[in-house]
């Protein structure tokens, strides 16, 4: 049996909408098989993974808290990927944003003012953008592959954070634990609902997604992004500069990742510690693709991947399987998303040997 692809005359609008859902269904099936292999009852495992977190107010808040950074980063990445700039170092930009934003509450901890929080957020965005400026500069001016440079910078950022919280920024009150001092109340992102912990970070995520969606759909910049992404040559004829686009997309995604970083630290952790992210920067890549690089789709995708984090923690407790299950789920999901996207541009045909093949096709074999 062979698989053949036949190009559709035009991209299928139906599959463009359906493909993420097909991918989700396939992931759930594969996940069930995985639980079965681990010796767990697949139905009840899937239930506590995907359904139970939705039935509880507490865990709904947890989902919103985890979705916020995923959506913020994913939206930024979608602009990068649409314009063919492969920033995969959002994890590093997230960390650097968190560190830059934390300058205010850690270094100037005696300064109490309502300006603290806004300043932190601005610093966070600048920190993330500056860190993304490194691969942008290297790509635009030195022709260096941004995939590798941005990824290498993730490791460097992680080590830098580790040094900061163990060295210069270690709290004098923390009994040698590697943490900074706790942020003062005015440096903490306020909660938005009385029912739980969801903070302003979630609002930032939704606003960012809607703004970027508007930009992509209704502005010249959005058009420029798509044109340069699809054909750099065509973009040049239209007078668009791919070099400027490198800067624009990387700085934007860096700033959003930085904002996600400081929002996470300020709203959720309330201090810096050696590890501040369970891989949000990488999971956001999956979010971006599951959302089909559309900011509104990314909101839904971010919520779903946040569910996999919360569901992963749930099955860890109830079924005593490891939290690694979450990572496997996320990896599988990206695989299925990418394979289902083929359906948008191609018809897939299974060709069985021995069946008569039209002469024209035989000739081309």
């Amino acid at each position: 049996m062979r698989i053949e692809l036949e190009r559709r005359p035009r991209a299928s609008a139906l599959y463009a909408i359906l493909s993420p859902f097909i991918a989700l269904v396939l992931t759930v099936i594969a996940g069930g098989i995985m639980f079965w292999l681990l010796g767990k009852d697949p139905v009840s495992a899937l239930y506590s993974f995907f359904v139970e977190p939705l039935l509880d107010v507490w865990s709904l808040h947890e989902i919103a808290i985890k979705a916020a950074p995923l959506i913020l980063i994913g939206v930024g990445l979608s602009v990068c990927y649409r314009s063919n700039n492969w920033n995969i170092g959002a994890e590093g930009q997230f960390i650097m944003g968190a560190i830059a934003g934390a300058i205010v509450p850690v270094v100037f901890h005696e300064w109490h003012s309502p300006l603290v929080l806004p300043l932190m957020l601005v610093f966070g965005m600048i920190g993330g953008a500056l860190y993304a400026a490194i691969p942008a500069f290297l790509k635009a001016n030195m022709n260096t592959n941004e995939i590798l440079s941005s990824l290498m910078l993730v490791y460097i950022a992680q080590l830098f954070l580790d040094w900061m919280v163990r060295g210069p920024w270690r709290s004098p009150e923390a009994y040698n634990f590697p943490v900074t001092r706790d942020f003062a109340p005015e440096a903490i992102l306020p909660e938005i609902l009385t029912s739980g912990r969801t903070n302003l970070g979630f609002v930032f995520a939704i606003v960012a997604a809607v703004l970027v969606w508007f930009m992509m759909r209704y502005t010249l910049k959005g058009f420029e992004i798509s044109v340069l992404g699809q054909s750099e040559r065509a973009g040049r004829f239209a007078g668009f500069s791919s070099r400027r686009m490198i800067w624009f997309s990387l700085l934007l995604s860096g700033a959003l990742a930085g904002l996600a970083g400081i929002a996470e630290v300020s709203g959720n952790i309330n201090k810096l510690q050696p590890v501040i992210s369970p891989g949000y920067g990488f999971t956001a890549i999956i979010v971006a693709f599951l959302g089909r690089l559309n900011p509104l789709g990314i909101i839904a995708a971010g919520l779903f991947l946040a569910l996999t984090y919360v569901g992963g923690e749930a099955v860890q407790l109830t079924l005593s399987v490891s939290d690694k299950v979450t990572r496997v789920f996320q990896g599988l999901l990206l695989f299925f998303v990418l394979s289902c996207d083929t359906l948008i541009l191609y018809k897939i045909r299974l060709v069985f040997p021995g069946r008569a093949v039209p002469a024209a096709q035989q000739g081309a074999e």
């Binding site: 440079s149 490791y155 040094w163 990896g331 990206l334 990418l338 083929t342 074999e365």
Partner: protein, 306 residues
């Protein structure tokens, strides 16, 4: 054994996985396929090699498991990018994410267990040569394989007919297809070779470098290997040289830490990653030579027209 010998030995141990993984990726990329999943295939090789060694007691079966696991895992990438023409960059990332996840899941049972170190094989006569003997001829099987593979791949790519086909496909898949070369089939094989090499590199990590299982023990080496291929401008001998250079850099940080120069350990640990970026910049800032060296179809999707 003198201090210089000891240091050189650690350099060799650190360089071997980089050389192997980069060599495999080199063949894949020469065929025009960009597989960013090296890190994932490597970590799968590491965990499977450790598990198989633990189950059978034989590190040699462990090596086979690493190679086979890496090759099988790369097939997933091959199916998506070659048969379903999915985006190669994204699929490679998916392979890495999935590999890190699955390996963590499989490896859960082996955390903290002591492993079996791959025994050294002394080559008669040669291993008695002073200085050189203990360094190069009293090594483990994977080291010998890495050197043999560099020589073999170099010959294969530039002297054999199939090697010519691979390079033709990598430079222009449409023309190669028109000449009747089975583009997809050869690309599958090239991807699997890359997977097997990355798996072998992973086996080296969990059987030689640190004979145990640690989650995420590849620690970015797969990505450094990808950078090495660019650094080597897609030539096997330069992969060997570059691998040893990077091995030396990553080992120098350990020795610097042992000396206690007062530099924070995190800065020294960041050295290999920073060095990778610097080297990438140096090697690719000349747009023209980069363009000449890069396989022209690298990363481009191919659907045979009928």
């Amino acid at each position: 054994m003198g201090i210089v010998e000891a240091i050189l030995l650690t350099v060799i141990t650190a360089a071997t996985p980089l050389v192997l993984a980069a060599l495999g990726e080199l063949v894949t990329e020469r065929a025009g396929v960009l597989n960013l999943g090296v890190e994932g295939m490597m970590i799968m090789g590491a965990v499977l090699a450790f598990a198989a060694t633990h189950a059978t007691g034989s590190p040699y079966l462990g090596i086979l498991a690493g190679i086979g696991g890496g090759a099988l895992f790369s097939l997933l990438f091959g199916f998506l990018t070659l048969t379903l023409v999915a985006n190669q960059v994204a699929t490679g990332l998916a392979l890495t994410i999935l590999g890190l996840g699955i390996s963590g899941q499989i490896g859960e049972a082996y955390v903290g267990m002591s492993g079996t170190k791959l025994p050294q094989i002394a080559i008669p006569l040669l291993s008695d040569i002073p200085f050189v003997g203990p360094l190069l001829f009293r090594q483990d099987l994977i080291f010998y394989l890495s050197i043999a593979l560099v020589i073999g791949v170099n010959w294969f790519l530039f002297k054999s007919r199939t090697g010519l086909k691979i390079r033709a496909i990598g430079d222009n898949h449409a023309s190669a297809h028109a000449l009747g070369i089975g583009v997809i089939r050869i690309r599958y094989l090239a991807v699997m070779f890359g997977g097997a090499c990355a798996g072998l590199a992973g086996a080296q990590l969990s059987l030689v470098y640190t004979p145990q299982w640690v989650e995420n023990m590849s620690a970015g080496r797969g990505w450094i290997a990808l950078a090495l291929v660019v650094f080597a401008s897609w030539r096997p001998w330069r992969v060997l040289a570059g691998g040893y250079l990077f091995g030396a850099v990553s080992i120098s940080q350990l020795h610097a830490q042992a000396l206690g120069l007062g530099i924070p350990s995190q800065f020294l640990s960041a050295l290999p990653y920073a060095a990778t970026v610097v080297v990438l910049v140096l090697i690719s800032h000349n747009r023209r030579t980069t363009l000449i060296n890069t396989p022209a179809s690298l990363g481009k999707p191919f659907v045979p027209d009928r």
